[in-house]
Protein backbone atom coordinates (compact mmCIF):
# COMPACT_ATOMS: atom_id res chain seq x y z
CA UNK A 1 0.00 0.00 0.00
CA UNK A 2 0.85 3.64 -0.23
CA UNK A 3 2.57 4.87 2.87
CA UNK A 4 1.01 8.33 2.71
CA UNK A 5 -2.53 7.11 2.38
CA UNK A 6 -3.94 6.01 5.72
CA UNK A 7 -5.99 2.86 5.47
CA UNK A 8 -8.82 2.34 7.88
CA UNK A 9 -9.30 -1.04 9.50
CA UNK A 10 -12.54 -1.54 11.42
CA UNK A 11 -12.52 -4.25 14.03
CA UNK A 12 -15.40 -5.23 16.28
CA UNK A 13 -14.57 -6.24 19.83
CA UNK A 14 -15.97 -6.58 23.30
CA UNK A 15 -14.62 -4.12 25.83
CA UNK A 16 -12.55 -6.28 28.11
CA UNK A 17 -9.99 -7.45 27.28
CA UNK A 18 -10.33 -7.42 23.50
CA UNK A 19 -10.79 -3.70 22.93
CA UNK A 20 -8.14 -2.94 25.50
CA UNK A 21 -5.66 -5.21 23.75
CA UNK A 22 -6.48 -3.72 20.37
CA UNK A 23 -5.93 -0.27 21.82
CA UNK A 24 -2.29 -1.27 22.44
CA UNK A 25 -1.57 -2.07 18.79
CA UNK A 26 -2.94 1.18 17.44
CA UNK A 27 0.40 3.04 17.39
CA UNK A 28 2.14 0.05 15.85
CA UNK A 29 -0.35 -0.03 12.96
CA UNK A 30 -0.31 3.72 12.61
CA UNK A 31 3.31 3.47 11.65
CA UNK A 32 2.28 1.08 8.90
CA UNK A 33 -0.26 3.59 7.62
CA UNK A 34 -3.22 1.72 9.05
CA UNK A 35 -5.76 3.50 11.17
CA UNK A 36 -7.34 0.98 13.52
CA UNK A 37 -11.00 1.74 14.37
CA UNK A 38 -12.27 -0.27 17.30
CA UNK A 39 -16.04 -0.78 17.37
CA UNK A 40 -17.08 -1.94 20.79
CA UNK A 41 -20.05 -4.29 20.66
CA UNK A 42 -21.88 -5.94 23.50
CA UNK A 43 -23.40 -9.15 22.28
CA UNK A 44 -22.02 -12.19 20.50
CA UNK A 45 -24.03 -12.17 17.30
CA UNK A 46 -23.72 -8.65 15.96
CA UNK A 47 -19.91 -8.69 15.48
CA UNK A 48 -20.07 -11.82 13.33
CA UNK A 49 -23.00 -10.57 11.37
CA UNK A 50 -21.23 -7.27 10.74
CA UNK A 51 -18.14 -9.04 9.48
CA UNK A 52 -20.18 -11.38 7.31
CA UNK A 53 -21.94 -8.42 5.74
CA UNK A 54 -18.82 -6.38 5.30
CA UNK A 55 -19.70 -3.74 7.88
CA UNK A 56 -16.54 -4.62 9.76
CA UNK A 57 -13.23 -5.85 8.41
CA UNK A 58 -12.57 -8.19 11.28
CA UNK A 59 -13.64 -9.02 14.79
CA UNK A 60 -11.93 -10.11 17.93
CA UNK A 61 -14.22 -11.41 20.65
CA UNK A 62 -14.93 -15.09 20.20
CA UNK A 63 -13.43 -18.51 20.55
CA UNK A 64 -13.32 -21.12 17.81
CA UNK A 65 -16.27 -23.28 18.96
CA UNK A 66 -18.58 -20.30 18.89
CA UNK A 67 -17.34 -19.27 15.46
CA UNK A 68 -17.86 -22.77 14.12
CA UNK A 69 -21.35 -23.01 15.53
CA UNK A 70 -22.24 -19.67 14.02
CA UNK A 71 -20.93 -20.66 10.62
CA UNK A 72 -22.84 -23.92 10.70
CA UNK A 73 -26.14 -22.49 11.85
CA UNK A 74 -26.20 -19.32 9.81
CA UNK A 75 -24.22 -20.47 6.83
CA UNK A 76 -21.77 -17.64 7.36
CA UNK A 77 -18.14 -17.64 6.36
CA UNK A 78 -16.02 -16.52 9.27
CA UNK A 79 -12.48 -17.61 9.36
CA UNK A 80 -9.90 -17.63 12.10
CA UNK A 81 -6.85 -15.53 11.32
CA UNK A 82 -4.94 -16.22 14.46
CA UNK A 83 -5.48 -17.03 18.13
CA UNK A 84 -4.53 -14.32 20.58
CA UNK A 85 -5.36 -15.26 24.14
CA UNK A 86 -7.33 -17.56 26.39
CA UNK A 87 -9.59 -16.34 29.16
CA UNK A 88 -9.74 -19.35 31.36
CA UNK A 89 -12.97 -19.83 33.17
CA UNK A 90 -12.72 -20.42 36.88
CA UNK A 91 -14.88 -21.33 39.84
CA UNK A 92 -14.98 -19.01 42.82
CA UNK A 93 -16.68 -18.98 46.16
CA UNK A 94 -16.95 -16.79 49.22
CA UNK A 95 -18.33 -19.59 51.35
CA UNK A 96 -15.88 -22.41 50.89
CA UNK A 97 -12.14 -22.67 50.57
CA UNK A 98 -11.86 -26.04 48.87
CA UNK A 99 -14.09 -27.67 46.32
CA UNK A 100 -14.46 -30.68 48.57
CA UNK A 101 -16.31 -28.48 51.06
CA UNK A 102 -19.15 -28.03 48.59
CA UNK A 103 -22.29 -29.30 50.29
CA UNK A 104 -25.10 -31.33 48.87
CA UNK A 105 -27.81 -29.20 47.33
CA UNK A 106 -25.45 -26.22 46.97
CA UNK A 107 -26.30 -23.45 44.52
CA UNK A 108 -23.97 -22.94 41.59
CA UNK A 109 -24.19 -19.78 39.47
CA UNK A 110 -23.14 -20.05 35.85
CA UNK A 111 -23.26 -17.62 32.90
CA UNK A 112 -26.55 -17.55 31.07
CA UNK A 113 -25.03 -17.03 27.63
CA UNK A 114 -25.70 -20.19 25.65
CA UNK A 115 -22.29 -19.71 24.09
CA UNK A 116 -20.67 -20.44 27.47
CA UNK A 117 -22.97 -23.24 28.57
CA UNK A 118 -21.15 -26.12 26.92
CA UNK A 119 -17.84 -24.81 28.13
CA UNK A 120 -19.01 -24.52 31.72
CA UNK A 121 -20.62 -27.93 31.79
CA UNK A 122 -17.54 -29.56 30.32
CA UNK A 123 -15.43 -27.87 33.00
CA UNK A 124 -17.74 -29.07 35.80
CA UNK A 125 -17.71 -32.54 34.30
CA UNK A 126 -13.95 -32.49 34.19
CA UNK A 127 -13.83 -31.55 37.88
CA UNK A 128 -16.16 -34.46 38.65
CA UNK A 129 -19.00 -32.36 40.05
CA UNK A 130 -21.40 -33.63 37.43
CA UNK A 131 -21.43 -36.19 34.68
CA UNK A 132 -22.65 -35.37 31.17
CA UNK A 133 -24.41 -37.88 28.98
CA UNK A 134 -21.47 -37.70 26.58
CA UNK A 135 -18.69 -35.22 25.93
CA UNK A 136 -19.36 -34.25 22.34
CA UNK A 137 -21.49 -31.50 20.87
CA UNK A 138 -23.39 -28.66 22.45
CA UNK A 139 -24.49 -29.13 25.99
CA UNK A 140 -27.38 -27.83 28.00
CA UNK A 141 -28.33 -28.30 31.63
CA UNK A 142 -30.56 -31.19 30.65
CA UNK A 143 -27.55 -33.09 29.31
CA UNK A 144 -26.45 -33.65 32.90
CA UNK A 145 -26.70 -37.39 33.51
CA UNK A 146 -25.43 -37.55 37.04
CA UNK A 147 -25.58 -34.84 39.66
CA UNK A 148 -24.26 -36.63 42.76
CA UNK A 149 -24.20 -33.50 44.90
CA UNK A 150 -27.65 -32.51 43.73
CA UNK A 151 -26.31 -29.09 42.75
CA UNK A 152 -28.77 -26.36 41.88
CA UNK A 153 -27.80 -24.21 38.92
CA UNK A 154 -28.62 -20.56 38.53
CA UNK A 155 -27.94 -18.92 35.20
CA UNK A 156 -27.00 -15.24 35.40
CA UNK A 157 -25.68 -12.55 33.12
CA UNK A 158 -21.90 -13.08 32.89
CA UNK A 159 -21.06 -9.56 33.99
CA UNK A 160 -23.29 -9.87 37.03
CA UNK A 161 -21.74 -13.10 38.33
CA UNK A 162 -19.05 -11.51 40.53
CA UNK A 163 -21.62 -9.22 42.13
CA UNK A 164 -23.73 -12.16 43.22
CA UNK A 165 -20.84 -14.29 44.41
CA UNK A 166 -21.90 -13.85 48.01
CA UNK A 167 -25.37 -15.11 47.23
CA UNK A 168 -24.36 -18.55 45.99
CA UNK A 169 -22.10 -21.35 47.09
CA UNK A 170 -20.09 -21.47 43.92
CA UNK A 171 -19.92 -19.38 40.75
CA UNK A 172 -18.25 -20.16 37.47
CA UNK A 173 -16.97 -16.83 36.20
CA UNK A 174 -15.24 -15.66 33.07
CA UNK A 175 -11.82 -14.51 34.15
CA UNK A 176 -12.18 -11.00 32.79
CA UNK A 177 -15.18 -10.37 35.02
CA UNK A 178 -13.51 -12.04 37.97
CA UNK A 179 -10.56 -9.78 37.51
CA UNK A 180 -12.61 -6.63 37.36
CA UNK A 181 -14.14 -7.67 40.65
CA UNK A 182 -10.71 -7.88 42.25
CA UNK A 183 -10.69 -11.65 42.34
CA UNK A 184 -7.34 -13.19 41.67
CA UNK A 185 -7.79 -16.14 39.32
CA UNK A 186 -4.47 -17.58 40.30
CA UNK A 187 -5.09 -17.45 44.04
CA UNK A 188 -8.83 -17.30 44.49
CA UNK A 189 -10.13 -19.77 41.93
CA UNK A 190 -11.12 -23.15 43.38
CA UNK A 191 -10.46 -24.55 39.96
CA UNK A 192 -9.78 -23.03 36.58
CA UNK A 193 -9.57 -24.13 32.96
CA UNK A 194 -6.17 -25.24 31.89
CA UNK A 195 -4.12 -23.87 29.05
CA UNK A 196 -5.25 -26.87 27.04
CA UNK A 197 -8.68 -25.28 26.59
CA UNK A 198 -9.94 -25.04 23.01
CA UNK A 199 -11.42 -21.67 23.87
CA UNK A 200 -8.70 -19.51 22.47
CA UNK A 201 -9.99 -16.07 21.47
CA UNK A 202 -9.29 -15.43 17.86
CA UNK A 203 -9.03 -12.62 15.39
CA UNK A 204 -11.56 -13.52 12.70
CA UNK A 205 -12.42 -12.23 9.23
CA UNK A 206 -14.70 -13.20 6.43
CA UNK A 207 -13.36 -16.06 4.33
CA UNK A 208 -11.19 -14.68 1.58
CA UNK A 209 -10.01 -11.67 3.54
CA UNK A 210 -7.48 -13.55 5.60
CA UNK A 211 -4.72 -12.40 3.30
CA UNK A 212 -5.74 -8.74 3.38
CA UNK A 213 -2.57 -6.79 4.05
CA UNK A 214 -4.13 -4.76 6.84
CA UNK A 215 -5.40 -7.86 8.61
CA UNK A 216 -2.03 -9.47 8.32
CA UNK A 217 -0.42 -6.43 9.83
CA UNK A 218 -2.90 -6.51 12.68
CA UNK A 219 -2.28 -10.20 13.31
CA UNK A 220 1.43 -9.57 13.30
CA UNK A 221 1.11 -6.68 15.70
CA UNK A 222 -1.06 -8.71 18.07
CA UNK A 223 1.61 -11.36 18.26
CA UNK A 224 4.33 -8.94 19.16
CA UNK A 225 6.29 -9.38 22.39
CA UNK A 226 4.99 -6.00 23.49
CA UNK A 227 1.44 -7.30 23.51
CA UNK A 228 2.46 -10.48 25.26
CA UNK A 229 4.01 -8.37 27.98
CA UNK A 230 0.99 -6.13 28.15
CA UNK A 231 -1.38 -9.08 28.61
CA UNK A 232 0.72 -10.70 31.24
CA UNK A 233 1.23 -7.51 33.23
CA UNK A 234 -2.23 -6.11 32.91
CA UNK A 235 -4.26 -9.24 33.46
CA UNK A 236 -1.96 -11.07 35.79
CA UNK A 237 -2.78 -14.55 34.60
CA UNK A 238 -6.46 -14.03 34.05
CA UNK A 239 -5.90 -13.62 30.39
CA UNK A 240 -3.17 -15.77 29.05
CA UNK A 241 -1.41 -15.10 25.78
CA UNK A 242 -1.82 -17.94 23.33
CA UNK A 243 1.21 -17.29 21.22
Amino acid sequence: GDKDEEQVLEVGATQVPHAEILEQVKPELKKKGIQLEIVVLQDYVTPNKAVEEGELDANFFQHVPWMKATNEERGWHLKKVTGVHIEPMGAYSKKIKKISELKKGATVAIPNATSEMTRVLLLLDKEGLIELDNRKGDKKLKNIKENPKNLKFKTLESAALPRFLGEVDLAVINTNYALQADLNPVKDALFIEGKDSPYVNVLAVKEGNENDKRVKELAKALHSPKIKKFIEEKYKGAVVPAF
Binding site: N112, T114, S115, T155, L156, A160, E167, V168
Partner: protein, 218 residues
Protein backbone atom coordinates in the same frame (compact mmCIF):
# COMPACT_ATOMS: atom_id res chain seq x y z
CA UNK B 1 -36.05 -26.89 13.15
CA UNK B 2 -39.33 -26.69 15.01
CA UNK B 3 -38.84 -30.11 16.50
CA UNK B 4 -36.00 -28.69 18.54
CA UNK B 5 -38.41 -26.63 20.55
CA UNK B 6 -37.90 -27.27 24.18
CA UNK B 7 -41.42 -26.95 25.46
CA UNK B 8 -40.53 -27.49 29.09
CA UNK B 9 -38.23 -24.48 28.92
CA UNK B 10 -40.86 -22.47 27.12
CA UNK B 11 -43.61 -23.16 29.63
CA UNK B 12 -41.30 -22.43 32.47
CA UNK B 13 -40.28 -19.17 30.80
CA UNK B 14 -43.91 -18.27 30.18
CA UNK B 15 -44.67 -18.89 33.83
CA UNK B 16 -41.71 -16.78 34.90
CA UNK B 17 -42.76 -13.89 32.69
CA UNK B 18 -46.36 -14.04 33.88
CA UNK B 19 -45.15 -14.17 37.46
CA UNK B 20 -42.68 -11.31 37.16
CA UNK B 21 -44.97 -9.11 35.12
CA UNK B 22 -47.99 -9.83 37.31
CA UNK B 23 -46.24 -9.01 40.54
CA UNK B 24 -44.39 -6.02 39.22
CA UNK B 25 -47.49 -4.55 37.54
CA UNK B 26 -49.28 -4.77 40.85
CA UNK B 27 -46.53 -3.01 42.76
CA UNK B 28 -45.93 -0.54 39.97
CA UNK B 29 -49.52 0.55 40.30
CA UNK B 30 -49.20 0.56 44.08
CA UNK B 31 -46.22 2.92 44.05
CA UNK B 32 -46.84 4.71 40.77
CA UNK B 33 -50.29 5.99 41.64
CA UNK B 34 -49.30 7.75 44.89
CA UNK B 35 -46.18 9.16 43.24
CA UNK B 36 -48.24 10.43 40.30
CA UNK B 37 -50.75 11.93 42.69
CA UNK B 38 -47.99 13.67 44.59
CA UNK B 39 -46.54 15.05 41.37
CA UNK B 40 -49.88 16.61 40.52
CA UNK B 41 -51.31 17.83 43.81
CA UNK B 42 -48.12 19.52 44.98
CA UNK B 43 -47.70 21.51 41.77
CA UNK B 44 -48.44 25.21 41.36
CA UNK B 45 -52.14 26.01 41.49
CA UNK B 46 -53.08 22.52 42.65
CA UNK B 47 -54.80 21.41 45.81
CA UNK B 48 -51.71 20.84 47.92
CA UNK B 49 -49.13 23.25 46.56
CA UNK B 50 -45.79 22.21 48.08
CA UNK B 51 -42.90 23.03 45.85
CA UNK B 52 -40.21 21.17 47.69
CA UNK B 53 -42.24 17.96 47.73
CA UNK B 54 -42.87 18.36 44.02
CA UNK B 55 -39.19 18.89 43.34
CA UNK B 56 -38.12 16.00 45.54
CA UNK B 57 -40.56 13.51 44.04
CA UNK B 58 -39.81 14.70 40.51
CA UNK B 59 -36.09 14.28 41.09
CA UNK B 60 -36.39 10.78 42.55
CA UNK B 61 -38.67 9.78 39.71
CA UNK B 62 -36.24 11.18 37.17
CA UNK B 63 -33.26 9.44 38.72
CA UNK B 64 -34.93 6.06 38.55
CA UNK B 65 -36.00 6.71 35.01
CA UNK B 66 -32.55 7.88 33.96
CA UNK B 67 -30.60 4.89 35.20
CA UNK B 68 -30.41 2.13 32.59
CA UNK B 69 -32.29 -0.94 33.64
CA UNK B 70 -29.24 -3.17 33.77
CA UNK B 71 -27.52 -0.88 36.25
CA UNK B 72 -30.72 -0.60 38.23
CA UNK B 73 -30.74 -4.38 38.51
CA UNK B 74 -27.28 -4.52 39.91
CA UNK B 75 -27.70 -1.61 42.26
CA UNK B 76 -30.91 -2.89 43.71
CA UNK B 77 -29.78 -6.39 44.46
CA UNK B 78 -29.04 -5.66 48.13
CA UNK B 79 -32.53 -4.24 48.33
CA UNK B 80 -33.95 -7.38 46.75
CA UNK B 81 -32.09 -9.50 49.27
CA UNK B 82 -33.54 -7.40 52.07
CA UNK B 83 -37.08 -7.27 50.72
CA UNK B 84 -37.68 -10.69 49.25
CA UNK B 85 -34.95 -12.69 50.92
CA UNK B 86 -33.13 -13.49 47.72
CA UNK B 87 -31.32 -11.49 45.12
CA UNK B 88 -31.57 -14.10 42.41
CA UNK B 89 -34.40 -15.47 40.33
CA UNK B 90 -37.74 -14.14 39.15
CA UNK B 91 -38.84 -12.80 42.51
CA UNK B 92 -35.67 -10.76 42.87
CA UNK B 93 -36.10 -9.50 39.32
CA UNK B 94 -39.39 -7.88 40.24
CA UNK B 95 -37.58 -5.36 42.45
CA UNK B 96 -35.70 -3.58 39.64
CA UNK B 97 -38.70 -4.03 37.37
CA UNK B 98 -40.86 -2.18 39.87
CA UNK B 99 -38.16 0.41 40.47
CA UNK B 100 -37.95 1.02 36.74
CA UNK B 101 -41.65 0.98 35.96
CA UNK B 102 -43.18 2.75 38.98
CA UNK B 103 -41.62 6.17 38.22
CA UNK B 104 -42.59 5.70 34.61
CA UNK B 105 -46.18 4.94 35.55
CA UNK B 106 -46.11 7.85 37.98
CA UNK B 107 -45.59 10.18 35.02
CA UNK B 108 -48.49 8.60 33.17
CA UNK B 109 -50.68 8.94 36.26
CA UNK B 110 -49.61 12.57 36.45
CA UNK B 111 -50.69 13.24 32.87
CA UNK B 112 -54.01 11.46 33.42
CA UNK B 113 -54.82 13.38 36.59
CA UNK B 114 -53.98 16.69 35.00
CA UNK B 115 -56.65 15.99 32.39
CA UNK B 116 -59.40 15.88 35.03
CA UNK B 117 -61.78 18.81 34.62
CA UNK B 118 -60.77 21.54 37.04
CA UNK B 119 -64.38 22.52 37.51
CA UNK B 120 -65.17 19.18 39.07
CA UNK B 121 -62.27 19.46 41.48
CA UNK B 122 -63.46 22.93 42.35
CA UNK B 123 -66.96 21.66 42.97
CA UNK B 124 -65.63 19.01 45.33
CA UNK B 125 -63.49 21.55 47.16
CA UNK B 126 -66.44 23.89 47.45
CA UNK B 127 -68.39 21.12 49.15
CA UNK B 128 -65.76 20.97 51.84
CA UNK B 129 -63.99 17.78 50.75
CA UNK B 130 -60.60 17.19 52.28
CA UNK B 131 -57.69 17.01 49.89
CA UNK B 132 -57.58 13.30 50.48
CA UNK B 133 -61.23 13.00 49.56
CA UNK B 134 -60.67 15.02 46.42
CA UNK B 135 -57.94 12.61 45.39
CA UNK B 136 -59.82 9.44 46.26
CA UNK B 137 -63.31 10.48 45.27
CA UNK B 138 -62.73 12.84 42.39
CA UNK B 139 -59.30 12.72 40.76
CA UNK B 140 -58.89 8.96 40.68
CA UNK B 141 -62.45 7.97 39.69
CA UNK B 142 -62.64 10.66 37.03
CA UNK B 143 -59.31 9.57 35.55
CA UNK B 144 -59.85 5.81 35.92
CA UNK B 145 -60.17 5.19 32.23
CA UNK B 146 -56.88 6.94 31.44
CA UNK B 147 -55.21 5.35 34.46
CA UNK B 148 -56.15 1.90 33.23
CA UNK B 149 -54.97 2.47 29.70
CA UNK B 150 -51.75 3.89 31.16
CA UNK B 151 -51.36 0.78 33.28
CA UNK B 152 -51.83 -1.29 30.15
CA UNK B 153 -48.99 0.58 28.47
CA UNK B 154 -46.85 0.07 31.55
CA UNK B 155 -47.68 -3.61 31.81
CA UNK B 156 -46.71 -4.17 28.18
CA UNK B 157 -43.49 -2.27 28.76
CA UNK B 158 -42.84 -4.55 31.73
CA UNK B 159 -43.29 -7.59 29.53
CA UNK B 160 -40.58 -6.39 27.21
CA UNK B 161 -38.45 -5.13 30.11
CA UNK B 162 -38.62 -8.50 31.76
CA UNK B 163 -36.46 -9.85 28.94
CA UNK B 164 -33.61 -8.39 30.92
CA UNK B 165 -34.48 -10.35 34.01
CA UNK B 166 -31.92 -12.89 32.79
CA UNK B 167 -29.29 -10.71 34.45
CA UNK B 168 -30.34 -11.97 37.84
CA UNK B 169 -31.52 -15.35 36.61
CA UNK B 170 -35.12 -14.29 36.42
CA UNK B 171 -35.56 -15.96 33.07
CA UNK B 172 -38.79 -15.37 31.24
CA UNK B 173 -39.86 -15.49 27.63
CA UNK B 174 -37.82 -12.55 26.38
CA UNK B 175 -34.66 -13.95 27.91
CA UNK B 176 -35.45 -17.40 26.50
CA UNK B 177 -36.08 -15.95 23.05
CA UNK B 178 -32.70 -14.27 23.15
CA UNK B 179 -30.62 -17.05 24.65
CA UNK B 180 -32.22 -20.25 23.46
CA UNK B 181 -33.58 -18.76 20.30
CA UNK B 182 -31.37 -16.06 18.97
CA UNK B 183 -27.98 -16.88 20.45
CA UNK B 184 -28.44 -20.60 19.92
CA UNK B 185 -29.58 -20.12 16.36
CA UNK B 186 -32.78 -21.97 17.15
CA UNK B 187 -35.38 -20.18 15.07
CA UNK B 188 -38.11 -22.49 16.30
CA UNK B 189 -37.54 -21.38 19.86
CA UNK B 190 -37.20 -17.78 18.78
CA UNK B 191 -40.46 -17.75 16.89
CA UNK B 192 -42.35 -19.67 19.54
CA UNK B 193 -41.20 -17.40 22.33
CA UNK B 194 -41.90 -14.40 20.13
CA UNK B 195 -45.42 -15.53 19.37
CA UNK B 196 -46.09 -16.19 23.03
CA UNK B 197 -44.82 -12.73 23.91
CA UNK B 198 -47.04 -11.11 21.32
CA UNK B 199 -49.99 -13.13 22.56
CA UNK B 200 -49.31 -12.04 26.08
CA UNK B 201 -49.15 -8.41 25.03
CA UNK B 202 -52.35 -8.78 23.03
CA UNK B 203 -54.07 -10.33 26.03
CA UNK B 204 -52.98 -7.55 28.36
CA UNK B 205 -54.08 -4.99 25.79
CA UNK B 206 -57.51 -6.58 25.43
CA UNK B 207 -58.09 -6.77 29.13
CA UNK B 208 -56.88 -3.22 29.58
CA UNK B 209 -58.99 -1.85 26.75
CA UNK B 210 -62.04 -3.69 28.01
CA UNK B 211 -61.74 -2.27 31.50
CA UNK B 212 -60.91 1.17 30.19
CA UNK B 213 -64.01 1.16 28.01
CA UNK B 214 -66.22 -0.10 30.81
CA UNK B 215 -65.07 2.67 33.05
CA UNK B 216 -65.31 5.50 30.55
CA UNK B 217 -68.57 7.20 31.37
CA UNK B 218 -68.22 10.18 29.13
Amino acid sequence: MFNEIDWATIWQATGETAYMVGISTFFTALFGVPLGILLVVTDTGQIWEKHWVQKAVATVVNIFRAVPFIILVLFLFPLAKFLVGTSLGPTAATIPLIAGAAPFYARIVETALREVDKGVVEAARSMGSTRFQVVVNVLLPEATSALISGLTVTCVTLISFSAMAGVVGGGGLGDAAFRFGFQSFNDGMLVTCGVLLVMMVQLVQWIGDWFSRQLDKR
